[in-house]
Amino acid sequence: MKIFYTTCLLLLSLSFRASATIWKVGKQQNIYSIQQAIDMSKNGDTILVDAGIYFGKNITVNKSIVLKGINHPRLDGEKKYEIISVKANYVIVDGFKLQHSGSSGMDDLAAIKIYNSRDVVIRNNILDDNFFGIYTQYGTNCTIANNQIHAAGNAELQNGNGIHCWKSDSMRIIANKVSGHRDGIYFEFVTNSIIWRNISENNIRYGLHFMFSHNNAYISNIFSHNGAGVAVMYTHGMKMYNNIFEESWGDAAFGLLMKDISDSYIRGNRFIRNTSGIYMEGSSRIVMEKNIFQNNGWAIKMQGSCDDNTVLYNNFSGNTFDISTNSELVLNLFNNNYWDKYEGYDLNRDGKGDVPYRPVSLYSMIIDKNPATAILFRSMIVTLMDKSEKVFPSMIPVDLQDKFPHMKPFPL
């Protein structure tokens, strides 16, 4: 009996399979318009689009179908239209080249926009010169993978974000390459999502931007040459693992900017050659472990509004200033790190220095108050002031110290 039912079910499913149709669109095919193919198709069908250029005005995908391009057919929005609107669940958009979406101050026109759908997959597309790249609103469990998204960004207002998710949940953003947009990847009210192995570079504002987005993780991404690498704001429960933040240069440039975030982990990241590696304010209960801070202007700028943060087992080397703060009150813990500027000794050979290290220099506080004093940088008087302040602290927060500074860098 059991076997009979199983066989029936199998046959039933096979018959569904068999009923799925493949529609071909192209100059050599009977159908020239993608929208026409979509209109004729039903759930579960596949539409194959031949290479070529298509001016579709707007393509609305309102059925659960696979839309697949062969050799990247070009869909052109003529700088007026949203190119693809996904308004159904289980849609796959694969292998297109989308260009010249419209731009508008009123609507957030995008190359591909997912409306209120779940389990949509957008993959292997090339996006060039669009206002927004891939836009999700009320999306659930969608995957955005392997897309190359590029815009010739020059001003914040003329460019949207590369990947933009709003009020979505359980998203997977994997192995995309975003450049030249306002924010490379933007999350607002997005939860339980993962951002993995993306490269976000040369974006005007942030490589990756979180607003009010809780319990997300971003892992093994590369953020380079952005206005700021990553900005995390008004968020809790972030996991930031094994990312590279590099080459964020400029007046207000940071590798990682954290504003009002809490209960998060920063582990195994590399902050290299940024004006500031990390800038944080109003943030609490963040654990920073085993990161590398190298050749930054400031490794960490921790404002006085931060508390209960822990900085452990990190390597600080080649930074102009290690830590700067604007408060004398110390509510954070800095222990067991390696600081290349540490000049102490280790008599008992336990690998930890016998005198504490004070990572805040007087001059970094002065320069914070009065930026014009940058002109005295590395002058003898500044060196003298710093050295004497290290011996007899009067202005720097006395308690901001690493009690067990490591003598050798950690093998990270």
């Binding site: 004006t275 050749n295 930054n296 202007g297 400031w298 102009t320 004093t373 002109i375 005295l376 002058s379």
Partner: protein, 255 residues
């Protein structure tokens, strides 16, 4: 003139101090580059040598040399030689040997370990600072007859240029912290060759810190071709003006 330069340089070479200075710089430079983990950190330590040791040695050695050469100068002045020739020869001899000592002692290690824009800027400014402080030493020693007083003046001048001046700058910066005085600070830095040299080097070295608003102002000026040319002219003036003043004084000096 060539002949006198030759004798001045021979004389300086016979003096072991310049040799020891060269060897000292060599040892320091090589050990810095070998001990520090990165060449960048080595450059940082060398920066202090360039900004502190080079002016100090140049000004003190030259002052003492002038006083110790009183006999030579006296002998030469009674010979059919123009005073101008004599004085310029002494300057060329001193400036040449101090720059050469710096180039061999610090320049070659820098070229070997850190052949970069920063390294080359450092060599160029080091040589310029050597020349500038020889010129200042010439002025200081032609103005004071007494050797002890002259050396004292030289040390004070060095102290002024390396510490006091920056102290004054810091004071001014805090007095006028509410005003946008970044541009003004550029012209102030021209008043001290050590500061000017330092800014030129750190703009190449600590690009990260110099990228704030203040840094941007400096970068705009010193980073541009004109900025570098103007800085070069100002540094040359720092060598030329004391030299010409001292020459005028020496021409009228009673020996």
């Amino acid at each position: 003139m060539k002949k006198i330069i030759k004798y001045v340089i021979l004389d300086i070479l016979r003096n072991k101090i310049v040799m020891s200075y060269t060897v000292f710089l060599l040892i320091i430079s090589f050990s810095i580059f070998n001990l520090e983990d990165t060449a960048g950190k080595g450059l940082l330590s060398l920066l202090n040598i360039v900004l502190i040791i080079v002016p100090l040695v140049s000004i003190i050695f030259s002052t003492i040399y002038i006083y110790n050469s009183a006999e030579f100068i006296e002998l030469m002045v009674s010979q059919p030689i123009k005073r101008k020739t004599l004085w310029l020869s002494i300057f060329v001899g001193l400036a040449g040997s101090m720059s050469l000592a710096f180039f061999i002692g610090a320049g070659i290690p820098i070229l070997l370990f850190e052949f970069s824009a920063t390294g080359i800027t450092m060599i160029a400014t080091g040589i310029l600072l050597s020349i500038i402080f020889v010129a200042i030493a010439l002025l200081a020693s032609v103005c004071t007859r007494d050797k002890a007083k002259g050396i004292g003046v030289a040390i004070l001048l060095w102290f002024y240029f390396s510490v006091l001046f920056d102290g004054l700058v810091l004071f001014i910066l805090f007095q006028f912290s509410d005003y946008p005085i970044e541009k003004f600070m550029i012209s102030v830095s021209a008043l001290n060759p050590i500061d000017l040299a330092r800014v030129l080097i750190i703009l190449k070295m600590d690009v990260s810190v110099m990228l704030g608003y203040t840094g941007a102002v400096f970068q705009d000026f010193f980073g541009s071709q004109w900025g570098v040319i103007i800085a070069g002219i100002v540094l040359s003036a720092w060598a030329a003006v004391p030299l010409l003043l001292s020459l005028g004084k020496f021409n009228r000096k009673d020996l």
